[in-house]
Symmetry: C2
Subunit: 447 residues, 2 copies
């Protein structure tokens, strides 16, 4: 064991990175472990999924972000479990070496959240969610292949299904995906196709609750709903998805035939939370103490989307947004730094400062609630764009993303329209009733 | 069958795209088929592999490039064979429909080349080559994981192997990869790591022939060799690789322990050429007539890297470079357009105009032979950069690539350092002798 106390941080998202940074001057060995070598600016993942920008534009190598912080090691590895009482972490670093374990003095778990398909794990392959760069390029692949498939399709009904996109979940991600897909179909690609009118593509946004953007003020949610409808997105609130299969989505008594279904409905805490052996909420999040520590284990903290924390002033739960993770990470990092310097100092309680929330709706429109100020339309979009650019971790990304956005905005262009990975049109299981497409079909480009 | 004659072009690389463009005003139905939805600017693939730029920066959707050409359809599909005599093409468009076939009046095969591992197909997974965007991101993944592995590795010998990069093949791709990897290790990432000195990374370039850049004038090859050596790349000419396994590379009597081996040695024609049933050269290329048609099948043409063509003026074989493909594609497209308008017109013979050749060596150095003018150093690099930017098909890419390059040059930065896909450190089969890494190892960041 090293001479200096060891602080291990699991996860290089907003919460983990901020915790590491807050420990920059601490007299400790700080180790940040992540399965990935890169931090991702998650709020813009939907822009990769909709071909507006490239993965590298909103991601940065974690060890590069922390390169000047000499007390910090970055390790690429998969953490497999925590023994909170023994203060040990189990991890697998690959190389066929199997699992190893390592001790810590403080642990900050910032492992984030993953998709939740409630009681339907079989929906995952049919309706991918959006959490990682790989998710984003997979969704991009499906959206682009859907148009390719429609262009090729001879059967009118199947062509219709190929041009139908269903997004499940009306939070910010669902709203942003729906707007962006409609925009691709209506403005970016119509001239590229010969056999289909992409402007006729149907985009359906399904929300089980009474309105979209449930976390935002009702006035803004109404505006977002109206903006989406004006763009041609079908918004269905109060609608529950009861089945997803390879032909489409069942919503109550209605079946929507759709080739592309995307999941923006539920998240749950990373399974790592369960290995702590403490109570979780129904979404798998660790219910933490006011100082973000785990009940009974004052040296183990959980921050970010994996934590169910309450702001000490309002007793309201901290929302699962970037700001929540950032603030909790910074809070815990500072708390540990202070405690290392003065072991007997009393611990503060976490207070969440709500800086507001926002969502974009297609090109150059947004809704924003910034400390009570309600912004809509183009002005809200400008504020949204400016704030997001400011927050991007990596300086170079900031400039490139700004340029790219401006360019896209000027030209309606989405230049990252690449289908990578498996390039065939089979994104679902082959249908048993599949037939060889007759060469004589009048809609076939090849006949 | 449509009323207008049908021209099918297979492949959306330089040759296929130019053939399609040359047919823009022809009274024909032009169909371009490709397995991928995008054209890739292959000469810059090595920059993706070395994390300087993103895939979307040098790729563009084929149907977008051809969107204004109303007589042209673009189809995403895999061509599986050609029946030249019956003028039919077999293809698989996915969707579980199996194979279909379609007739043509003219066929232009521009299916390109793939890697050749000579008689060692088992080397492919150990030493990937660089032909597609997927190849490039896979190579990027291996290079970046090698440094991660070295950082984590406790055993000095294995750490050394992780920091050793062997590139097989001293053509432009090999030279460019070797220079860029050395530059990453020496300039881009040293500050990111704690346990290793990345500047000590060993980059070995192995060439079987007597010199690197065999296709360029000897003076320039000598200069490139000297420039590489000055950068710290070990250049071994006249050295033949006799074995590649998961521990490294055997070169004659010498074994170089290396975790990362890249293949830039051999290419052969796409297997589709063999389905024509005409003579191929030993590299699987179709030996074409002076008008680029296939012997005995005047309506079937082969252009680009899949063809072995000879320039009618010099009788020299056309080199497998972008310019060769561009010029052959344009020649055949124009020939078909003319023949459709005037069926009895005599066919011209293809003449290759050698515009020169060039290769970059790390940051801001290159060698270039432009119509007999020999350029070296920074000036050659400027010319190289300018010409490449000019040639990039998609206008927007041109600007972004220019900005990115300039930025990289200014800051030594390589901002696309993302490990996507499988993120574990296992890029080879797990070694049977693998042991759990002891926590007490002094070099381990986690212990």
């Amino acid at each position: 064991m090293p001479d200096r106390p060891r602080v291990i941080i699991v996860g290089g998202g907003f919460a983990g990175l901020e915790a590491a940074r807050a420990l920059a001057r601490a007299d400790a060995d700080v180790t940040l472990v992540d399965r990935r070598n890169h931090h991702v600016f998650q709020p813009l993942l939907y822009q990769i999924a909709t071909a507006a920008i490239s993965p590298a534009d909103i991601a940065a190598p974690i060890r590069h972000v922390l390169r000047t912080q000499r007390n910090c090691h970055v390790v690429l590895g998969t953490v497999t479990g925590v023994d909170a009482a023994a203060k040990r972490l189990r991890f697998d670093a690959g190389m066929g070496r199997g699992e190893a374990s390592v001790g810590f003095d403080y642990l900050v778990l910032a492992a984030g959240a993953t998709h939740s398909y409630f009681d339907h794990p079989e929906w995952e392959s049919l309706a991918p969610g959006l959490k990682t760069l790989e998710d984003a390029t997979e969704i991009r692949r499906r959206i682009l292949l859907a148009f390719e498939s429609a262009e090729y399709e001879g059967d009118a009904q199947r062509q219709r299904a190929a041009l139908t996109f269903v997004i499940v979940g009306g939070g910010p991600t669902g709203v942003e995906l729906a707007g962006a897909i409609k925009e691709i179909a209506a403005a970016t690609i119509p001239a590229d196709f010969r056999n289909i009118d992409t402007t006729s593509a149907r985009v359906v946004l399904i929300e089980a609750g009474p309105r979209v953007l449930a976390a935002m003020p009702e006035e803004l949610a109404r505006r977002a709903h109206a903006d989406l409808t004006a763009m041609g997105v079908e918004v269905r609130v109060g609608s529950r998805v009861t089945d997803i299969n390879s032909d489409g989505v069942r919503v109550g008594d209605d079946f929507i035939a759709a080739r592309t279904v995307l999941w923006a409905a539920g998240v749950r805490g990373n399974p790592l939370g369960a290995s702590l052996g403490v109570p979780l909420d129904r979404r798998g999040r660790v219910i933490v103490e006011p100082d973000c520590s785990v009940p009974g284990h004052p040296h183990v903290f959980v921050v970010g989307d994996l934590a169910l924390a309450r702001s000490a002033d309002t007793d309201q739960p901290v929302p699962g947004v970037a700001q929540g993770g950032l603030q909790m990470g910074r809070f815990v990092g500072r708390l540990i730094a202070r405690e290392l310097a003065a072991p007997d100092s009393p611990r503060p309680k976490f207070i969440y400062r709500d800086l507001g929330s926002m969502a974009t709706i297609g090109r150059a429109r947004a809704v924003a609630d910034i400390r009570g100020w309600h912004l809509t339309g183009f002005f809200a979009w400008l504020v949204w764009g400016g704030l997001h650019i400011m927050f991007i971790v990596n300086y170079r990304s900031r400039i490139i993303v700004a340029l790219q956005w401006f360019w896209n905005w000027l030209l309606f262009s989405r230049d990252a329209r690449l289908i990578t990975g498996p390039a065939s049109l089979d994104i679902r299981q082959p249908r048993p009733e599949a037939d060889i497409r007759p060469e004589t079909s009048s809609r076939t480009p090849l006949s």
